[in-house]
C-alpha cells in the first residue's frame, strides 16, 4: 500500500485541525478528550465515554455529528430497551394487495450512533450492538442489512458503581477502540462555560468536514507507515498485559486481545496523521495506550482492593516495557535527552 505524500498529509492535517478547533469551540477545557475522540474516529473505531452526568459527553457527540455533516441517531438506553428497538424490526405492510414483512431500520442505521447511557440497557440489548460494531451490519430474521459508511458508535455510560446499571460484557468492551474518561472541569473552564453558554440553548456549530473528506482521511490513515520497531513495541506492550509477562501484569487477571494490538496500531497511525507525520511512532503508541488498553484488561480482586485502576496499571506497563527490546548496558545511564542548538 503506497504511503501518502507529505502534500496530501498537509491537506488532511489542516482539515483535522479545523475539526478539532470547531469541537474545542463548543466543548471547553476538554482538548485532550476531543483529540482522542477525533483520533478514534479517524481510526474507524467506536468510542466509549465514561463520566458523570453533565460533563459534556452527549454535547461532544452531537457537536461531532454537526461538524462532520454525518447522519446521527441517538438511542437512549433504558432497562426495557429491546434489541429490535435499536437494530430495527420487520413490519407487516400491505402493498399491491399482498401483505409482507418489510424491514424497518432502527436507529443504528446512521453514520454516527449515539448510545447514551449504554450501561442502563440489559446485557441482551447491549449484545445487539456486537455485530453492528464489529462487522458494520445487522442481521434480523436471517436477513443481513449493511450499515451506512462510515459507521461509528459513540457510547456514553455512567460509572458502573451507580445503581441501575449493567456492566458491559467483555466482548462488547473489546469492540470499543477507546474508552475515555470524561473528567470534571477546573474552575477556569467552568467560568468560561458560564460566560459563554446559556442553559437550554445548544451552541451553534457549522460543518467543517464532509463525509467524503472524512472517508478520504480515514483511508489515508491506513496508509500511514508503521515502522517495524513500532509494531514490535505494540506487540510487546500487549503481550505484557498478560499475567506473568511483566511485573505490572501481576495486578491483571486477563490481558488484552490481539484486537487491542490492532487498535493500538490503528490509533497510532491516526495520531501520526493528525501530527502531520508520514509514520506512526513510539510516542503515538504511548499516547493512545491508556484509552486503548484500559477497558481491555481485567484487574484481579487484590489489585482492585489495593485501589489500583486500569489506567494506572497500563501506565505501569508503559513505564516497564521499553520501546526497544534491546537492553542498555549499566555502564551507561540515561540522562535527560536534549538537543543542543
Amino acid at each position: 500500500m503506497p504511503h501518502p505524500t507529505e502534500a496530501d498529509l498537509a491537506i488532511h492535517t489542516a482539515e483535522v485541525r479545523r475539526l478539532l478547533d470547531a469541537l474545542n469551540g463548543v466543548l471547553f477545557g476538554q482538548e485532550r478528550l476531543v483529540e482522542l475522540v477525533v483520533t478514534g474516529i479517524l481510526a474507524r473505531g467506536h468510542i466509549l465515554l465514561e463520566g458523570l452526568p453533565g460533563l459534556g459527553k452527549t454535547e461532544l457527540v452531537k457537536g461531532l455529528a454537526k461538524a462532520l455533516e454525518l447522519s446521527t441517531k441517538r438511542i437512549q438506553f433504558t432497562p426495557d430497551l429491546l434489541p429490535g428497538d435499536i437494530t430495527g424490526n420487520p413490519v407487516l405492510q400491505e402493498a399491491n394487495g399482498r401483505r409482507e414483512f418489510v424491514f424497518q431500520p432502527g436507529p443504528l442505521f446512521a453514520n454516527l450512533c449515539l448510545a447514551d447511557e449504554i450501561n442502563r440497557a440489559s446485557p441482551k440489548t447491549q449484545s445487539a450492538l456486537l455485530e453492528a460494531m464489529q462487522e458494520r451490519r445487522v442481521t434480523v430474521l436471517g436477513e443481513t442489512h449493511t450499515l451506512p459508511q462510515p459507521f461509528f458508535v459513540l457510547a456514553t455510560q455512567n460509572p458502573i458503581e451507580l445503581e441501575g446499571t449493567y456492566p458491559l460484557p467483555e466482548a462488547q468492551l473489546d469492540r470499543f477502540l477507546f474508552k475515555l474518561d470524561v473528567r470534571r472541569n477546573d474552575v477556569a473552564t467552568l467560568q468560561r462555560i458560564v460566560e459563554n453558554r446559556e442553559l437550554g440553548v445548544e451552541p451553534e456549530l457549522k460543518p467543517v468536514m464532509s463525509r467524503e473528506a472524512l472517508l478520504g482521511i480515514m483511508d489515508a490513515v491506513r496508509t500511514i507507515y508503521l515502522p517495524e520497531v513500532v509494531a514490535n513495541y505494540i506487540a510487546r506492550l500487549v503481550d505484557a498485559t498478560h499475567p506473568g509477562q511483566s511485573k505490572a501484569s501481576a495486578s491483571i487477571k486477563y490481558g488484552a486481545s490481539p484486537r487491542a494490538a490492532l487498535s493500538l496500531a490503528s490509533a497510532a497511525k491516526a495520531r501520526g496523521l493528525m501530527a502531520g507525520r508520514i509514520n506512526a511512532s513510539f510516542e503515538d503508541v504511548q499516547a493512545v495506550a491508556v484509552p486503548v488498553l484500559q477497558h481491555r484488561i481485567i484487574l484481579d480482586y487484590n489489585a482492585r482492593i489495593d485501589g489500583k485502576t486500569n489506567a494506572g496499571v497500563v501506565g505501569d506497563l508503559l513505564a516497564e516495557v521499553p520501546v526497544q527490546s534491546l537492553a542498555v548496558p549499566k555502564t551507561l545511564k540515561e540522562s535527560q535527552p536534549a538537543v543542543t542548538a
Binding site: 507507515y225 515502522p227 501520526g272 513510539f282 534491546l326 549499566k330 555502564t331 535527560q336 538537543v339
Partner: protein, 449 residues
C-alpha cells in the same frame, strides 16, 4: 517528498554511528568489569604465589604472561559482548527514542520523509552519560587486588627446589677414595677413574638417582671398589706379613723357607701391582726393589719399617672396609699371622703349628684338627676364572667366577629405639634381589638384543 539535505544525512549518520559505538563500548566495558575483577583475584593469587617462591622479577616471561592474560581478557569479553552490540539501525531507533523524534529517523532512512534538520551547533546530546562508578570500579579494585600482594610481607620459601639426598653408597665410596688418597695407599689414577664414574652417576637428574638402573650401577661400582680394596688389603697384608717374617726371622730360616717366603712376597707384590686397584707407586717402587737377594741383605730395621708401613696401610684398609662389614664377617678372614706362616712352613715348632713328622716330631695338630686357631687350608682363596668369549653365552651359563657376592643385609632384626637406623641400605631390597653383575648384565643384553 523533498530531497533530503546531505548535511543533515551526514550529521545523523555520524550521530547514529557515535551512539552505536558508545553503546557497544558500554556493553564491552560492562563485560570487562567482572572479567577484570576475576583477573585481579587470579593475578593477586599469582603474585602471592610467585612472591612466596624465589621468583626472578626480571624474567621477561612474566611481562609476556601478564600481557597475554590482558589480551585474552580483552578478546574474550569483546566476543561475549558482541552478542549485545547494536547495529546502525538499532542505534538509530535507540537514538530517536531517546530524543523523542517520533521515529523520524526510521522513516527518513526508508526514504519516506526528510531527515530531521541538524541542530545548528551540530551537537546532539543523545541522552546517555557514562556511569563512572560502574566503569572505574572494577579496574581500580582489580589494580588494588594485584597491588596489595606486593605490600604483604612474605619471605620466599627457601630450598623449595629440594635436591634429594644422594645414595649413601656414593658418599661411602667417596669417603673411601678420600681416605685412600690421603693415606697414599692406592694409585691416584685408579682413584680418579672411580671418582669419575661416581660423578657420571651424579650427573644424572636427581629424580633418576634412585632409579633401578642407576642403583644397579651404583651397587656394581660399590662392589667393584670394595672388591678391589679387599684385594689390595689382602695383598698388602700378605706382603707385609711375609716381609715382616723375613725381617724378623730371616737369619733363622732355611733356604727353602726363605725362598718360599720370597716367592710368596713376589706373588703378593705382583698382586699389588697388577690388581684392580694397584698400590701407590711410591711404596710400590720401594717394594719392587726387594729382590730375593735384596731381602737377604736388607737391613732388618728398614725391612721392619717397610713392613710397618704395609701394616698401617692394611689397617687403614681394614678400617675402611670394616665400616661396611656385615656382622658375622671376620676381620682377618683369610689372613695368617707371621708365626702362623712360619709354622705352616715348618720353621716354628710348638703347639700352635703342625708337626714336622718323623720320630723327633713334637706335638702338632694335623690340619683340620680341633685347635684354638682355625686351620687355614687356603680353601677360601678364590681365584678368578673368567670366560673371555661371551659371544655365545646364554642365561644360565657360567660366565666367570669372581670374588664377589650380592649385597645381602645380614643385620639381625632386633628391637631398636625409635628413630635409630640399623641399616642404611643401598637402594632397597628390590634392587639387590634383581641385582646382576656387569658381566651378567652384558650377557643378558647381548642375548636379548
Amino acid at each position: 517528498m523533498s530531497q533530503p539535505s546531505p548535511p543533515d544525512i551526514q550529521f545523523w549518520r555520524r550521530t547514529i554511528a557515535r551512539t552505536r559505538r558508545r553503546v557497544n563500548l558500554g556493553w564491552w566495558l560492562e563485560w570487562l568489569g567482572p572479567a577484570l575483577l576475576l583477573a585481579g583475584v587470579v593475578g593477586a593469587c599469582a603474585v602471592l604465589y610467585l612472591r612466596s617462591t624465589s621468583w626472578d622479577k626480571s624474567a621477561p616471561w612474566m611481562a609476556y604472561a601478564a600481557g597475554g592474560v590482558i589480551l585474552l581478557v580483552l578478546a574474550a569479553t569483546w566476543l561475549l559482548a558482541r552478542r549485545r552490540f547494536l547495529t546502525d539501525e538499532q542505534a538509530m531507533v535507540r537514538l530517536e527514542a531517546q530524543l523523542r523524534l517520533d521515529n523520524a529517523l526510521t522513516a527518513a532512512s526508508r526514504g519516506l520523509t526528510e531527515w530531521p534538520p541538524a541542530p545548528e551547533a551540530n551537537k546532539v546530546v543523545d541522552g546517555w552519560t557514562w556511569n563512572w562508578p560502574r566503569l572505574l570500579g572494577p579496574p581500580v579494585v582489580s589494580a588494588g587486588l594485584i597491588a596489595v600482594p606486593f605490600f604483604i610481607p612474605i619471605r620466599p620459601a627457601e630450598g623449595v627446589t629440594v635436591r634429594p639426598n644422594e645414595p649413601m653408597a656414593w658418599q661411602e665410596m667417596e669417603k673411601w677414595l678420600e681416605d685412600l688418597e690421603e693415606e697414599k695407599i692406592a694409585e691416584p689414577e685408579k682413584l680418579e677413574e672411580v671418582a669419575r664414574q661416581i660423578e657420571a652417576l651424579r650427573e644424572n637428574p636427581p629424580e633418576q638417582w634412585f632409579s633401578h638402573s642407576n642403583l644397579e650401577a651404583t651397587d656394581s661400582l660399590h662392589e667393584s671398589l670394595e672388591r678391589s680394596m679387599s684385594e689390595l688389603e689382602r695383598n698388602t697384608a700378605e706382603a707385609g706379613m711375609t716381609l715382616s717374617a723375613m725381617a724378623k726371622f730371616g737369619s733363622e730360616l732355611s733356604p727353602e723357607t726363605a725362598e718360599r717366603l720370597a716367592k710368596e712376597f713376589a706373588e703378593a707384590l705382583h698382586g699389588l701391582e697388577t690388581g684392580s686397584m694397584p698400590m701407590d707407586q711410591a711404596l710400590m717402587g720401594e717394594l719392587r726393589k726387594l729382590t730375593p737377594e735384596g731381602l737377604k741383605k736388607m737391613d732388618p730395621k728398614a725391612a721392619q719399617e717397610l713392613a710397618q708401613k704395609l701394616s698401617q696401610n692394611r689397617e687403614a684398609l681394614q678400617r675402611m672396609l670394616c665400616q661396611c662389614k656385615k656382622p658375622g664377617e671376620g676381620d682377618k678372614e683369610g689372613l695368617l699371622s707371621e708365626a702362623a706362616i712360619l709354622r705352616m712352613l715348618g720353621e716354628l715348632p710348638g703347639k700352635d703349628g703342625p708337626g714336622q713328622g718323623g720320630v723327633a716330631r713334637g706335638r702338632g695338630d694335623a690340619p683340620m684338627f680341633h685347635e684354638d686357631e682355625e686351620s687355614n687350608l687356603a680353601t677360601k682363596n678364590l681365584q678368578r676364572a673368567e670366560n673371555l668369549d661371551l659371544s655365545r653365552a646364554a642365561p644360565g651359563d657360567v660366565v666367570g667366577l669372581a670374588e664377589a657376592e650380592h649385597q645381602l643385609d645380614k643385620s639381625p632384626d632386633n628391637v631398636q629405639a625409635g628413630g635409630s637406623i640399623n641399616s642404611t641400605g643401598k637402594g632397597g631390597g628390590r634392587v639387590w634381589e634383581s641385582d646382576l653383575l656387569p658381566d651378567e648384565k652384558a650377557v643378558l643384553n647381548r642375548f636379548y638384543k
